[in-house]
C-alpha cells in the first residue's frame, strides 16, 4: 500500500498478533500446539462433565502426527459441537474440514483410530461410513480437534445429524459427502448432489464403487484398458 493510504498509526507492531492471554486456569489453559493429544483428552474431560451420558470416547492415532480424535455418537453430535463452539474457554468456532471415509472393513477403522479407554466401543461387525470433523479455534489459536462420527452401517443406516445449524462451513462439505459417500445428513437445509449430476446413481468415493467402462477410446494399449474398451464398444 502506498503511504497515502496507510497512516503511521495504522501500523502495528508485528507481535501484536501474538496469541491473546489465555485466561482460564484449567487443564486447557495452555494447550500445546505440537501435541494435540493433550487437546483431545482435555476436551474429552470437559465433555464428560458437561454431558455425562453422551457417547464420547477417545481414539488414539498411531501415526507420528498424534492427532488423536474423539468418537462421538451421532445422537450427541450437534450438542457436542454447540458446546465446543459456545463455551468461552473452548471456543472452537471454526470448522475447517469435514471428511467422509468409507470403512467396509471395520477393523481397519479401529486400527487407524484405536480405542483408548474402557468406553471405546468394540468394532462394529459390519462396515460403516465415517465423517471426520477438524475444528479449530480462531480466538485461542489451537487445533485441530478431531471429531469422528460413524454411521450404523453402509446400506440403510447411513444417517448422521447435520451440523450446518452450528457450523455453516459444513454446508457444502456435507453435501459433498452425501454425494460421494452417501451419508444422509438429517436436518441439512439443502441436501442435494453437489459435484455429480442429480441423476447419478452410485456414490463414487465408496471403496466398492465400480467405475463405468463407457469412456472414450484411449489409444494407450494397456491390456485392461483395451479389454474394457472392447467389451464396451462391441465390434461389428
Amino acid at each position: 500500500m502506498t503511504a497515502e493510504h496507510l497512516t503511521p498509526e495504522d501500523r502495528q507492531s508485528p507481535d501484536s498478533l501474538s496469541p491473546p492471554d489465555r485466561e482460564s486456569p484449567d487443564s486447557l489453559a495452555s494447550p500445546d500446539r505440537e501435541s494435540p493429544d493433550s487437546l483431545a483428552a482435555a476436551v474429552l474431560a470437559r465433555l464428560r462433565t458437561a454431558f455425562p451420558r453422551a457417547g464420547v470416547s477417545l481414539r488414539t492415532n498411531p501415526g507420528p502426527a498424534v492427532q488423536h480424535s474423539l468418537l462421538v455418537s451421532p445422537a450427541d453430535l450437534c450438542d457436542v459441537c454447540r458446546f465446543l463452539r459456545d463455551t468461552p474457554d473452548l471456543a472452537f468456532d471454526f470448522l475447517s474440514n469435514v471428511s467422509g471415509v468409507d470403512w467396509p472393513d471395520p477393523s481397519k477403522a479401529d486400527a487407524v483410530a484405536a480405542p483408548a479407554d474402557e468406553q471405546g466401543t468394540p468394532a462394529a461387525a459390519a462396515g460403516f461410513l465415517e465423517v471426520i470433523y477438524h475444528l479449530y479455534s480462531t480466538r485461542r489459536r489451537i487445533g485441530p480437534l478431531v471429531l469422528r462420527v460413524r454411521t450404523a452401517d453402509r446400506l440403510s443406516g447411513v444417517q448422521i445429524p447435520s451440523v450446518v445449524a452450528v457450523f455453516r462451513s459444513a454446508e457444502f462439505q456435507e453435501r459433498e459427502i452425501f454425494d460421494l459417500y452417501g451419508v444422509e445428513f438429517t436436518g441439512h437445509p439443502d441436501l442435494r448432489r453437489i459435484l455429480m449430476w442429480d441423476e447419478f446413481q452410485d456414490h463414487p468415493m465408496r471403496k466398492d464403487y465400480v467405475a463405468p467402462d463407457d469412456y472414450e477410446y484411449e489409444p494407450t494399449p494397456h491390456a485392461a484398458v483395451l479389454e474394457k474398451a472392447q467389451r464396451h464398444y462391441v465390434q461389428p
Binding site: 500500500m1 495504522d10 502495528q12 501484536s16 491473546p20 484411449e218 489409444p219 494407450t220 494399449p221
Partner: protein, 217 residues
Amino acid sequence: MEPSADIKRLPAPARWSIPGIGLLKGMVVTAQNMIQSYYRKERMTTVQYPEERAPISPNFRNFPFLCYDGEDPKAGLRCTACTICETECPPQCIYIVLERDANGKSLKRPKVFDIDVSVCMNCGICAEVCPFDSIYMDGEYELSKQDRFNGLLFHLDRLAKSADYHMKLRPKEAGEVAARRKVEVDKKRAVQAAKDAKAQTDKDMAKPEPTTKGEPA
C-alpha cells in the same frame, strides 16, 4: 486488543473532490505503458512467434524420450524394460513389453515401449524414478498432429534419442550422467578384468601343479 485496520478509506466527499481524477490517473498509467513499450526493454515483453522464439531453460520438460548410447538406437538403448516408470506414471501413459528370446529368457530390453503423449502430463516422475539413466524429459514442444489417436502415440523408434541429443539439451545433467556411467562402466570393466585375471591366475595356479609335479621328474 482489537487490531486496527490497515486499509484507509478517504471519506466520500474527498474522494469525489474532482470527479474523474482517479480515472485520469489510471489513464496516465496506461499511456505511460503504451509509450514505453516502444523503447523500454522491460516493457517489450512479447516475441513474434514463430519467427522469433523465447529461449527455453535447460530444465524445461515436455514429453519423455529414451536415451541410447552410441549410434544404434536398438543396440545402445539403456532401457531394460524394468517397468518401474510404467508403474509409477501417474496417468498411466507408458506401456512396455519385455523382449524375450525363443526360450522365453528375458533379453532385458523392451520389445514395445509406447508413450501416449495425449495422456502424458509432463510431470517427469518417470525420469526421476528411472534407475538406468534411460528416460528423460524432452524439450521439444511443437508437436501438433493431424491424427489425434495414432499420431500422439509415440513408439520406440520415435522415443529413442541419442545421448548426444541429451548432452545438447541439458549439458549439466547429461554430463553428470555420462561421468557416472563412465565410472560404472570402468568399475564393471575393472571387476570383469579382475575376474578374468583371477580366473587366469586360478587357471595358472591349477595348471602349474602338474608341471611342478612333472618338473622334478
